[in-house]
Amino acid sequence: MELYGVAVEYETLAFELAQEMLAEGSSEVSLVQYYRLIEMAVRTLVALKQRGTLSLEQDCDVTWRLARLLVNETWDLDLAETYLSSLRERIISNGRFIDNLNARLVCEYWLLYEIPLRRDDKFHCKIALRGCFALLEGLDTKSNMYSLFKFIAAALNLKMKKYRRAQLQLEELVLIIEEHDASRRDWYAFVLLRYVNLMLERRTPLTPATKQRLAALKCDEIGPQLYVWKLFLELTIQIYKDANITDELNKFKTFFQSYKTELKTADRYSIKFNEFISMQVQLSTISQYRDVKNVLLLMQSVSYLVNCYDPRANFSTKFLPKVKATTGQLIKTMADGAMPQSLSHWDTKSAWYNDILYYCDFYTMWEHMLLGSSIETQQPKDTKFWIYNELLNAINGQSGLSDCEGASDCLAKYSAVLAKGQSAKRSAPNEVKIICLLNQFTVLASQVSQNEGVQDGITQCGEKWAQIAELMRETDLEGNNVWDCTIAIVWIISHFEPFTWNPLPSTNEEKSVYMNKLNEYYSANKMVNMEHAVAGGERFQLKKSLLLQILLNYLGGRIIETETELITEISATCFKLARRHNMAAISYVVGLWHLMNCTISMKPKEVTYTTAKLEAIVREMKA
């Protein structure tokens, strides 16, 4: 039995070495030495099982330790499965063991969750899911083990990308815990947070009840780690709406004042189920202060991104490089002061940091696009970012597009993203789909306007629009002013005469819906001195995204305003803004409108000035 201690010693030493390997970079020699120790730990445990006469309790300890090593350090999942299954048999046939049920459930946890999740195929998950439901049948629905395995069922569905089912199961589970286990706030909070996180990942709208549950989580009940997660989710909800995030940032600030140190010390979170079983949660985002700060800054950058139309005066231009530099630093120092951990744990954490680096690059390129400079995308190392990358490529390809051939190329690129989005392996998020569809729609509608393939174009526009409307209904994007307003604008300019040569067919009802929206957004955001800003306009306030402001004010000025003086003021502002940013085609159209307004209001100086500017734009466009 002393040899069990030896196995533990090998494992511990290996983890200590892992830390050194992180600091200095791992060489092939050190990798081999690391796994030599792991192999010794495994062989010692295996030999103990084979040669020793282990009591059932001892067998449990040896087997679980062995399983953890095999699952985390090796690809030999079959082997782990064999040991665990035979231990389970032994437990079932031995009734004397006090913690019999608990011990059996620990085995089930490994067999139904840890191992299937690590096999990268649906087949094993399906079998595990069946096993999980069979197990649930036999458990008391009020017990906390029931809720643990209910959670596992949801996790398996998630792994198989059955999102809707997983969402439903988690939602149900939240209610179950609330009813039977209300005192266990940490487990309740964990499931609720996972549920909300999943809903947000899918951009599924949250019910008011869910939002209330989220808001009701208290830091002193659930601990700072889970509370940070809650703060992040509430921040995301605001960012998703393109709303002001000052309040959320203040909440973080207040929180940091009291809990900063606690986040520095803990790198895992433990949820106790009973005397025998507790669950350890490791989640980078919530456990370390330095990671929390870094992710927070990334989220802030993304929130400020749409505002970006001045390279010197936007937060994102400052924050994104900072996040990138900090992340590089964190990768180097991630093991500092942490508990010794398996090499594969650090590998996973590095992968997470690499994701952050990818998002930094992605949003930096997006920012360049907003600022009107051309970008060059690179194929990311990780194929999971394929969709984001291709989206950037397609959008980049549309910029400055002027001929028919280019248009069909560009449509094809968007279609490729959408088509990949349908394959199960990499499904495009709904928001990406809508972006593709809307851009495709404007390209198609403008082809119709220019008399290119009119009949076919009209049909296609109708189809795209139906898809956009359907996706918007399914997502929380309906509640986002920027998106909602954009859709109204795109609809109006493709269905009304002064904005297109060939208006698409429409009903009166549609017309009044979109015109109403335009009215509301325009009155809350018009670019004239704010004295006549409508009261209660806050509901329709938009972020200062440049293109949107120009389009909205152009439409408002043309359709809604009646006073020449005011109209000219608006057209002057629109023209100035458009010219400042590489949007030649838009500048030209807006400029023509401004020229007309100046002529009408008899401003000869302005007329001369605007004509000269327009001539310059024409020269540029013909070049």
């Binding site: 040899l3 791992s26 192999e39 507790s278 989206l391 300019i493 293109l547 085609a585 159209v589 327009l614």
Partner: protein, 145 residues
């Protein structure tokens, strides 16, 4: 406006036409951020050591057998039946960690840090881990061995 700049040129004159070459780039995809929040989550069940005899600090064994080399040799002897002919694991090769050239003395370091018993065990069992056993992906290795 009898004539105006660009009147006879083939450039977009209506706002919809000008959007053909102007993507709606203020619509920014963001759901990756929430994936980032949860993607690193890992769970593990922990149980207290139920069997005190296994507690390395705690020698409950009635009479700890003297573990001589002969004993250890037979303990590690490779006659196990549920692992093919000998224990040959395939280990996970890190995909995201930095690497550097071989210039280290890790083997010595290990020898220094191990307890006498652990040192004897590793010398007797002498596990032969090779680079080729450390692989990046799960594959059907069982049949190939």
């Amino acid at each position: 406006m009898s004539n105006y700049p660009g009147e006879h040129d083939n450039i977009p004159k209506r706002i919809l036409d000008s959007l053909q070459g102007q993507p709606l780039n203020h619509l920014v995809p963001k759901c990756g951020l929430t994936s980032l929040l949860s993607s690193s989550v890992s769970l593990s069940l922990v149980t207290p050591n139920t069997s005190l005899a296994l507690d390395p600090e705690n020698n409950l064994n009635k009479s700890p057998k003297k573990l001589d080399d002969h004993h250890l040799r037979s303990f590690y002897a490779s006659d196990s039946h549920d692992l093919d002919d000998h224990l040959q694991l395939s280990f996970k090769r890190p995909k995201n960690l930095g690497s550097r050239a071989d210039n280290d003395d890790f083997a010595d370091k290990i020898q220094e840090k191990l307890s006498p018993l652990a040192k004897r065990c590793i010398n007797i069992a002498d596990p032969s881990v090779k680079s080729s056993h450390i692989i990046t992906e799960l594959r059907e290795t069982r049949h190939q061995r």
